[in-house]
């Protein structure tokens, strides 16, 4: 579709854009209708007991009163667990960045030594990405046991999958001319990458790394729920013992963690943008 409109002259391409509008509106209408039907179908299929919804809401309000004030007796343990989550996220993300960097260059279509290599790496990456981190954590728990190391492995795997994808996309967006010009001077593959590609994509890469660290910190707080170390376990533990006030404190710490990371990364992203 895009190629077609490009080849025709400007005037008629405007006409096509105009003609596209009602078609898009029709598609929108169809999607809305189908979506609406599917919504009510889903609702009817879900095994939801609505009396439980009301009952649960009342119960939740009463647990809210038990949750207040938050019990901070175990603040040392909770904060140490939070720190562990943070460390797991940092180590996992850094390893993933290294792996992502190594694999994204051969995965980018304009740099790959062979198209099939690019295809293979990308397929592998989308496989890693499509399986949620928590499932990776479960697999690694069975394989290497519980603890923060398992968390690092799970974070690494998920983050590597995403970083290969976005890094190689950034590389593919590079102006072909740059690479062609360097090839013409007889530069080797590695020197093309180091002198031609990396300086161009550096900002984009940094932005992706920051985004990934943000995501990984949020992920690392939940890994503990299945036993892969960190603050999630503290929450599970407190809830199992029905210590709602302790659980509330843990939840507050998790919120503070994720929220402050969001604040910091937003500021970093702004700075990268203005650069």
């Amino acid at each position: 579709m895009k190629g077609k409109t490009m080849s025709i002259d400007k005037l008629s391409s405007i006409n096509i854009a105009e003609a596209n509008k009602p078609r898009k509106n029709n598609a929108l209408l169809i999607v809305l209708i189908l979506g609406g039907i599917f919504f009510f179908f889903s609702l009817s299929q879900l095994p939801i007991d609505y009396s439980k919804l009301i009952e649960g809401s009342a119960k939740f309000l009463s647990t809210l009163t038990v949750m207040l004030p938050p019990d901070m007796t175990y603040w040392r343990e909770v904060l140490l667990a939070a720190l562990e989550s943070l460390q797991v996220a940092i180590v996992g993300t850094v390893i993933a960045i290294i792996l992502g960097l190594l694999l994204s260059f051969p995965a980018a279509e304009n740099l790959t030594p062979h198209p099939s290599i690019a295809w293979g790496i990308k397929g592998f990456a989308s496989f890693l990405r499509a399986i949620p981190t928590l499932i990776w954590a479960l697999i690694f728990i069975v394989a290497v046991g519980m603890g923060p190391f398992t968390g690092i492995l799970a974070i690494t795997v998920g983050a590597t999958g995403m970083l290969i994808k976005v890094f190689s996309q950034s590389i593919e967006e590079i102006d072909e001319g740059v690479i062609e010009a360097m090839k013409a001077t007889g530069a080797s593959w590695t020197s093309i990458v180091i002198h031609g590609v990396i300086p161009t994509v550096l900002t984009a890469f940094l932005a992706w790394c920051i985004l990934r660290l943000e995501g990984d910190i949020a992920e690392s707080t939940i890994l503990g729920a299945v036993g892969a170390g960190g603050i999630g376990w503290e929450l599970m533990h407190a809830m199992r013992l029905y210590k709602f006030d302790q659980a509330f404190f843990v939840a507050l710490v998790i919120f503070a963690m994720v929220f402050s990371v969001e604040l910091v990364t937003n500021r970093l992203k702004m700075r990268l943008k203005t650069k």
Partner: protein, 263 residues
């Protein structure tokens, strides 16, 4: 600024960059030591994981697929229902959250804090917190997905509203159109690409999240995976993981198709 100054500034900038790099390296090494990380254990761990995947997890047990269809469908239903309800609630709330449309600045600050609370507590944590009141099952899963959907979408929609071109709205108002006509002709066309784009994105996130909330009692495929791992039924586990893979990739493909056609 003369050449010497420029050079000086450049030097300082370079020093700054190296300090940041050094800082990152130090933090990483410290984190690695604290979490007992080592490269031997990394190699050992990957080998163990590979052995586990290839000898225990694979091959998947295809005979159990009929039993897995119900939880797999539940996963899809939960994420879709949560996305729709979340989008509707968020569209309503975003009007009060956006700087341009909020009736009062105090309300705007309150709504921002509120949506950030919903957004920054991960779905799984919501599920854990809610199971105590709502019991186990699809209800808890759907509720926690709705919470996070509302949090993410309220902020996203508010940003879309803030970016709306006031000029177009003014122009329609100038023709003497009433409030609803201004909404329909001036605001809605500018709002709808962002609305659908973000909602589809939310659907993708919900589908991923809903495959795992079962692990802490939210129903769906996560529950199957968790309980079968405890029972050492690895053939069933890998079958369920394959279904997760299929659902996630299929949703991504479908949302891309819809995105291309309507936005």
């Amino acid at each position: 600024m003369n050449a010497v100054d420029v050079q000086k500034a450049r030097k300082i900038k370079k020093l700054q960059t190296w300090l940041i790099v050094l800082g990152i390296v130090v933090i990483t090494i410290w984190s690695g030591i604290e979490t007992d990380f080592s490269f031997e254990s990394l190699i050992f761990g990957s080998r163990e994981a590979a052995t586990f995947v290839f000898t225990d997890l694979l091959p998947p047990d295809f005979t159990v697929i009929t039993g897995l269809i119900k939880p797999a469908l539940d996963t899809i239903y939960m994420s879709f229902v949560a996305m729709v309800i979340g989008a509707v609630i968020a569209a309503f709330l975003s009007v009060f959250t956006a700087a341009t449309t909020s009736p009062h600045p105090a309300l705007q600050v309150f709504m921002r804090a509120y949506s950030s609370l919903f957004r920054n507590i991960p779905v799984l944590i919501w599920t854990i917190l809610l199971t105590a009141s709502f019991g186990l099952g699809a209800l808890v899963g759907t509720l926690s997905l709705i919470m996070v959907s509302v949090g993410v979408l309220t902020r996203a929609f508010a940003e879309v509203l803030e970016e709306i071109d006031e000029g177009q709205v003014e122009a329609i108002r100038a023709t003497g159109a009433n409030y609803f006509k201004v909404l329909a002709q001036g605001v809605l066309p500018q709002f709808s690409p962002g609305f659908f784009g973000w909602s589809l994105y939310m659907l993708e996130i919900n589908v991923r999240a809903s495959t795992i909330i079962g692990m802490v009692g939210g129903g769906g495929l996560g529950f199957v995976i968790q309980s079968n791992i405890k029972l050492f039924q690895y053939g069933q586990v890998s079958m369920a993981i394959i279904l997760v893979l299929v659902i996630v990739l299929l949703t991504e493909w479908l949302t891309n198709q819809i995105r291309e056609r309507i936005i």
